[in-house]
Amino acid sequence: MIDRAFDLLLIGGMLGLAVQVVASRALFRSVVLFIALGLLMAVVWARLAAPDLALAEAAIGAGLTGALLLAAYRALQPAGEAGDAEPAALPRRWALVAAVLSGALVAAIGWAVLGLEPPAASAGREALARLGESGVKSPITAVLLSFRAVDTLAEVVVLFAAFLGARVVAEPLGRAGPGPRPDPAGGEPVLMPLLLRVTVPMGVLVAGYLLWSGGHQPGGAFQAGAVLAALGVLLRLTGRLQPVAETSPAERLALVGGIVLFSAIGLAGAGMASAVLAYPEGWAYTLILLIETGLTLAIALPLTLLFSGSAGLRWRGR
């Protein structure tokens, strides 16, 4: 009873926020409400027994996407203009067409899901049954790095491709990313160094823990990479990391090293195990942990660079 009420409250909040994101007059409000929606989604994932997703959503879906959106909001604000000055809304009949179209979509999907019987057998059931063969104890890590490893490989390449693409269309260094700091000459708030002194080591620790724990419980390269990327964003915003126009060799290695390692171990599987992307008997856990370590960097660095809007970063400690 209480459970159902909580679900309804969550769904109501989620849909209410989504409507506000679309309908709100002020763009800034839409962006902030979208970030709030991301946090609410993290609660939804937890409700639906998906703690891995809750972690990833809070860090990536709400946190990093939010930071990217806010930076872009500021960049798309014309100088000296307070309001949003949005392009003229579409004529009324278009809104009607859109309403009919999206209403039809809702009806079609709703009708389809209500008629959908859960299948007797599923890939997930087999994954759980054969978890022991994968070498790790967490079913999601097993799916991501053993059963469907090629998806994970391709997906890290997607992130790399987004970084490459962002380089093609990037703005000049001074305007890109979060933009120039408001008062570079003025001092830093007194609490900032304190915060960094607490957050940075703790964040690295948390990332390391998440990486290691992915073998047997929620966590893994995605979550660890997201936490590291969040630290990168923090250091970039506080000026510890400065944007530069060149990618250093070390950064290049961090960007593609994990993917190269993953592909190389995958290819070696053709000779040393049964197939490409198979792990030799008894080596699965070690190799998966090794790959995940490489992937953590290959996730964290492009995300940080995409936020920074630069090809590289240099340390400028204070």
Binding site: L27, E155, G165
Partner: protein, 100 residues
């Protein structure tokens, strides 16, 4: 109605809101937001459907959504950079309707 059923219906409603926003709002940032709403709807549908099985939670959709979240942030980041550059070059924050 089961919990999973409730959330699948919520997912279809969320998808509708996203598509509506994508059509009626022209500001590039709003269109990117609307696409992300639609993405969240798809993820929600996958996870809710994974919850229907008696006795176990299907890990495959969870892995798919985890992958999907990273793909979504990659695409969003590229779209935002492109929108900013487009604005810097043209001064426009929406795509003109007539060309193409």
């Amino acid at each position: 109605m089961t919990q999973a059923g409730l959330y699948t219906l919520a997912a279809s409603a969320l998808a509708g809101i996203g598509v509506y926003g994508l059509i009626v709002r022209r500001h590039l940032l709003r269109r990117i937001l609307a696409l992300n709403l639609l993405g969240n709807a798809v993820f929600l549908l996958l996870v809710a459907l994974a919850r229907r099985h008696p006795g176990y939670v299907d890990p495959v959709p969870h892995a798919m959504v985890l992958t999907g979240i990273v793909v979504a942030v990659s695409a969003t980041a590229l779209a935002l950079v492109l929108a900013r550059r487009y604005y810097a070059e043209t001064g426009l924050r929406h795509l003109p309707e007539d060309e193409g």
